[in-house]
């Protein structure tokens, strides 16, 4: 029995990770000079570039909200982002719009939009390489870019996905694992207060499995939080050291 459990824990995924192990994360805030805030993040082979502009004037009068800022999220998938097929996707691709609205819903309660009445905050996300986990990487990249832009937030958000395959819970699915009919649950957490802002799943999952999968995703969020936290603290310290008068 014991040996079986150990085997289960050590079960190797396609890229040599363990089932409860995150893919490698690399991130860097402030990569673009033109944008008010920007960030680049890699989770395994998924790579995303985020740019935040604003608060600025609304582009269309119809989007104006008189007592708070409007958040506008646009996601684009680079034509070279998938190795299997090279094609240009329009911005109005249904799948991308869905992800954009998930990102928007995640950030709406967290950004203090009431401080910037009648203005607009634009978040542009570009997936440079696609290997699964699009929602989570978009949320993580947007978080970093918003922090870089200095937009007031109650707390910042971390997102992570988890799934379940043949009774084993898996963390941070890549594209091949997503394709293998694995139910994938994306969780976005406020790591400090432990509140949940997004819980999204497109397929069916047995209700008994929901809790372990959710807990695993939450654990992943905490781990991502550690990485982001370290990066930003290091970045801020570095910035102020470089420009300190002495």
């Amino acid at each position: 029995m014991c040996i079986i459990t150990v085997l289960l824990i050590l079960i190797s995924l396609m890229d040599g990770r363990r089932a409860n192990e995150l893919r490698k994360i690399k991130c860097k805030p402030s990569v673009l000079s033109q944008a008010d805030g920007s960030a680049y993040i890699e989770q395994g082979n998924t790579k995303c570039l985020a740019a935040v502009y604003g608060p600025r004037e609304t582009r269309q009068k119809a989007q104006l909200i008189h007592n708070k800022a409007n958040i506008n999220v646009e996601i684009s998938l680079a034509p070279f982002s998938m190795p299997q097929e090279r094609k240009k996707r329009s911005k109005s691709d249904r799948r991308l719009l869905e992800i954009a609205s998930a990102v928007k819903q995640t950030f709406e309660p967290i950004i203090m939009t009431n401080l910037f009445a009648r203005s607009q905050i634009d978040i542009y996300l570009q997936i440079l390489q696609f290997d699964g986990g699009t929602i989570q990487i978009c949320i993580n990249a947007a978080t970093l870019a918003l922090i870089d832009a200095g937009i007031p937030m109650q707390e910042y958000v971390c997102a992570c996905s988890a799934g379940c395959h043949e009774n084993h819970t898996l963390l941070d699915l890549n594209n091949a694992e997503e394709m293998a009919d694995t139910p994938e649950l994306t969780v976005a957490l406020l790591p400090m207060s432990g509140k949940l802002t997004l819980l999204q799943m497109d397929s069916r999952l047995h209700v008994d499995k929901l809790e372990p999968v959710m807990n695993l995703a939450a654990l992943g969020c905490k781990e991502i939080y550690q990485t982001l936290d370290e990066t930003v603290r290091e970045y801020v310290k570095d910035l102020f050291q470089k420009s300190s008068p002495y």
Partner: protein, 232 residues
């Protein structure tokens, strides 16, 4: 412009959005600046940066590029439109600012200022409210004199982070003073991340522009080295 020397500022620590700061909210005279909010008895941060303390005032200092207007601050703006009673001015904030024709020295209904679209101005924020467009004025409200405000002729504008503008104004970074010993130039530093600069020749203007731009990432001794290299 004369600026009173700021009281001693101390950097407390690095903070991130959501961090709670252990400050006693009941301390008399405690003031929370940008980046800090009070929720019940605790104070939490909304921005990433350094928590800075000056006397009993606390705020978060970061490297923001987008300007949020505040009454009394001086800004460099570009005229972007003209209405019946006012100019529209781009100051880099979320909304275009309004500059009434009457907010100039000696201006009357008949005696209007003569500014065109594209002109640069140095002005003071007269009114800043999150629900209204910001309003500017080109006079000092203490004595109703222009006092250096108004149209900026020639020169060019450097866009930089808001904190760099503050550093230049408080002379925390004394690059202007150092560079002034080498060549003559004029600067108007706005709090909105725009610095207007001018000199006698175009060559000198672009030199000043490049030096000021580079100095953003340098400390004082490196600034000195940079200027010394130019002086030779």
């Amino acid at each position: 412009m004369k600026h009173s020397k700021p009281t001693e500022r101390t950097k407390v620590k690095v903070v991130l959005p959501g961090d709670t700061v252990s400050l006693d909210v009941t301390t008399p005279g405690i003031t929370l600046g940008p980046g800090l909010i009070q929720a019940g008895d605790s104070i939490s941060c909304t921005k990433a940066g350094f928590l800075v303390r000056s006397g009993s005032i606390y705020w978060v200092e970061n490297d923001q590029k987008r300007y949020i207007p505040e009454t009394g601050e001086h800004v460099v703006g570009r005229i972007s439109g003209k209405g019946g009673e006012f100019y529209r001015v781009d100051i880099g904030s979320a909304h275009q600012a309004i500059l009434p024709f009457l907010a100039f020295e000696n201006a009357t209904k008949k005696n209007r200022p003569n500014l065109n679209i594209g002109d640069l101005i140095y002005a003071r924020v007269a009114l800043a409210n999150k629900d209204m467009d910001p309003e500017l004025q080109c006079l000092n409200p203490m004595n109703n004199k222009a006092d250096g405000f108004g149209k900026l002729e020639g020169g060019m504008v450097l866009k930089c982070s808001l904190r760099y503008c503050q550093r230049l104004l408080t002379q925390e970074t004394d690059i202007c003073k150092l560079l002034g010993q080498v060549l003559q130039f004029e600067v108007s530093i706005g709090m909105n991340g725009r610095v207007w600069l001018s000199s006698d020749t175009i060559k000198h203007i672009s030199l000043v522009y490049n030096v000021l731009k580079q100095a953003e990432a340098l400390n004082n001794s490196e600034c000195k080295a940079l200027v010394n290299k130019l002086a030779v």
